[in-house]
């Protein structure tokens, strides 16, 4: 009964066939980048060495990849929910920023004796702020007829401006403020971490990230809510007619996504060594997460892997820039080309599949016609 798997598929695509475009896309992107590098006089080998050198050589460097992975992973996890529900939550950048602001607000101005309570409050407010920002986009969509892309963009701008306002105004350091960052948070307010090979690692953060992903994966694969989200994503009107509370589910999806992004923002600012709120704290992680989920074609199990590769590239990219004098943007170009190629190849796959389905339907109709003909003749 392999058919059982059909029930749990998030995208409704056979996983073996579905992964082919990804492989083809990787290949295309690599070839393109190799050509690009060749014109500069480098080989792929040079870049790989630099990447390895920058992001994998020692345990400390591996940990740095992990630290970059966590916020990206949390955002991607959240986006799995909204993409399943058919929403383009482009506002994830803003949700991440609001999360960072929430965490920073507590870290800067509230002090509790217990570290657990302190951290709980920071992370809690981060989640609430992110979730609120997500919910706002959701409400604007269902109640205000404001397309979630437009609403998200507007909320991104608003949150970025708000963060800039806070950093340059009320939250600016008392002395030596440059307008680009707040004071460093007190050590006490940061996530507890161990130092391995001169890099920090917070177990709490890792646990939260992995836990969040597992919960969302369980929701998507097994829960009623997940099934309802799938139905809404495929056809909102039909879902409503089947008695699914669509508005509530959409809000919930946006809320959860925002909350996870907020958590990502909190980890971003609270994880040592950063430990302060910086201008532009989202740093494009939200957009990158959108790419991750697009690349995974909303297949949950692929998300951690792709997010990890992206985090690896981001970490190693700096070394590429410093040792080879190639702009780190090249790494981003690689990612962009990769996603573009995968989208195109996936289009080709769907085209072939649609062709096959059409033929199958025609065959079925022919069989039915033949049967009837036979019945008429025999009687």
């Amino acid at each position: 009964m392999t058919d059982w798997r059909r029930l749990f598929r998030v995208t409704g695509v056979n996983s073996v066939v579905g992964i082919l475009p990804l492989l083809a896309g990787v290949l295309t992107a690599l070839i393109l980048i190799a050509i690009l590098l060749n014109t500069e006089g480098f080989t792929m080998r040079d870049v790989w060495d630099a990447l390895y050198d920058g992001a994998w050589e020692t345990d400390g460097k591996k940990l740095r990849v992990l630290i970059n992975w966590m916020p990206l992973m949390l955002c991607s996890t959240g986006l799995l929910l909204t993409f399943t529900a058919g929403l383009w939550n482009i506002g994830i950048e803003g949700q991440l920023t609001m999360g960072a602001l929430g965490a920073a607000a507590v870290a800067l101005f509230v002090r509790h004796d217990s570290k657990t309570v302190q951290l709980g409050a920071e992370i809690g407010l981060a989640c609430i702020a992110g979730a609120g920002w997500g919910l706002l986009a959701g409400i604007l969509k269902t109640r205000g007829g404001v397309n979630e892309i437009f609403g998200g963009v507007a909320l991104n701008f608003i949150s970025a401006l708000f963060s800039a306002f806070l950093i340059s105004g009320p939250w600016a350091p008392e002395r030596g403020g440059t307008g680009s960052r707040t004071e460093a948070f007190d050590e006490f307010t940061l996530l507890p971490s161990r130092i391995i090979d001169r890099s920090h690692l917070s177990n709490t953060a890792v646990a939260l990230t992995v836990g969040g992903f597992i919960v969302v994966a369980l929701i998507l694969y097994f829960s009623r809510f997940g099934l309802q989200l799938k139905a809404i994503g495929k056809s909102e009107n039909s879902a409503r007619a089947l008695g699914i509370p669509t508005e509530r589910n959409l809000w919930l999806a946006m809320l959860l996504c925002g909350g996870l992004a907020g958590l990502g923002g909190a980890i971003k600012v609270l994880h040592p060594p950063i430990g302060q709120l910086q201008q532009n704290s989202s740093g494009g992680i939200g957009f990158l997460a959108l790419l991750v989920v697009l690349l995974a074609s909303i297949r949950p199990w692929l998300v951690p892997i792709i997010a990890f590769v992206f985090a690896f590239l981001a970490t190693g990219g700096q070394r590429v820039e410093s040792s080879l004098q190639i702009d780190a943007a090249l790494v981003n170009v690689l990612q962009g080309v990769l996603v573009l190629a995968v989208l195109l190849f996936d289009g080709i796959r769907q085209r072939i599949q649609a062709e096959q389905e059409k033929r199958a339907v025609a065959a079925q109709a022919a069989r039915r016609a033949a049967e009837e003909e036979l019945k008429v003749k025999s009687s």
Binding site: W88, N147, F157, L290, D327, L330, N332, V337
Partner: protein, 326 residues
């Protein structure tokens, strides 16, 4: 009239030009039923290309031309992948947004911070018209790009509402299947309009790097594309309202700076910059929440229909969908 104010207004008209051109380009694209979400990336990449080419060849015209070509190519990529492979226009546009921005950073690294004085689009006050008090000072002491933005708005309006091909353009975005039956070559015309729209977006990029923000640095115009997209929605897909929207959003931004310079009110500039966004959300929300409708009913009978038509904010019905003959 206060000289500083006139100067500010002239500045608004000048700096709004690229935004206006990009928004009109997107308007044409969306009226044909296609979403080009890549605006933010297209503008940056076109701006970079325009500056690089103009700097190397010392020819402003060539720079502009290349920028238009870049914008057009990106738009063509979106429409052809959508037509042939049915790839989602939004996904494609979004990926291209990021990719083009990164490409511009990568390819433009050698041109960062170079002086652009000799490739600037020249200042060209129009004789006679420039001497009209106030109006002349605001509108007719600008450069060619700004005049083009005025002409463009008028041309787009005229094309959409007054000409035969414009009628087909509206038909394309509204119901391509019906347009097809009436003999419009849907895919071909969509292609043409999307390409035109894309080249206008590219032109907007050139207007930034060769005029408004003269020069090139990483992420020169980041955010402008999103603003242009927002203006199209806020302008409810109508050329004149888009004009208003563009001047409003740039105006509020410049006004913030003006206020700061005047030192009369002390509002943080970031908060002032938020106002256009909040205003847009508020307006859209007000129209859609049903409250507006409720108020319309309270109006005298003969005001109701025009009020409803004024409040209409529906996008073209076939926006973002791929056309199939069957």
């Amino acid at each position: 009239m206060n000289e500083a104010l006139i100067k500010t207004l002239a500045e608004i008209v000048g700096t709004a030009a690229p935004l206006l051109i990009a928004a009109q380009g997107e308007l044409i694209t969306e009226r044909a039923g296609v979403v080009n979400l890549s605006l933010d990336g297209s503008i940056v990449l076109a701006a970079m290309a325009a500056f690089a080419v103009a700097y190397e060849t010392e020819s402003t015209e060539l720079g502009i031309l290349v920028a238009m070509l870049v914008g057009m190519l990106i738009a063509i990529l979106i429409i052809s992948a959508n037509v042939t492979l049915k790839v989602n226009q939004i996904a494609l546009g979004f990926v291209l947004t990021l990719l083009c921005a990164d490409l511009s950073t990568y390819l433009g690294r050698d041109y960062t911070g170079l002086p652009g004085g000799n490739v600037e689009i020249p200042y060209a006050p129009i004789p006679l018209l420039k001497d009209i008090p106030v109006i002349g000072e605001i509108f007719f002491r600008q450069n060619l790009m700004v005049y083009f933005s005025f002409v463009l708005v008028a041309a787009v309006w005229f094309w959409i509402y007054r000409t035969g091909p414009g009628l087909s353009l509206r038909a394309l975005g509204e119901r391509p299947s019906a347009a097809y039956v009436r003999g419009t070559r849907v895919q071909f015309w969509r292609f043409v309009y999307v390409a035109i729209g894309g080249s206008l977006v590219g032109l907007a990029g050139a207007a930034y790097s060769l005029d408004v923000l003269l020069g090139w640095r990483e992420g020169l115009t980041v955010g402008q594309g999103w603003i242009a997209l927002a203006i199209v929605i806020f302008g409810t897909w109508k050329p004149l309202r888009i004009l208003l929207g563009a001047y409003l959003i740039v105006g509020l931004r410049s006004f913030a700076l003006y206020l700061q310079r005047q030192d009369t009110i002390n509002l943080p500039v970031h908060i002032l910059n938020m106002i256009p966004w909040l205003l847009m959300l508020l307006t859209l929300m007000f129209v859609a929440s049903g409250v507006a409708n409720y108020l319309v009913v309270a109006l005298p009978k003969r005001w109701q229909t025009p009020a409803r038509r004024f409040l209409r904010s529906d996008p073209p019905a076939a926006l973002g969908t791929a056309f199939e003959k069957e």
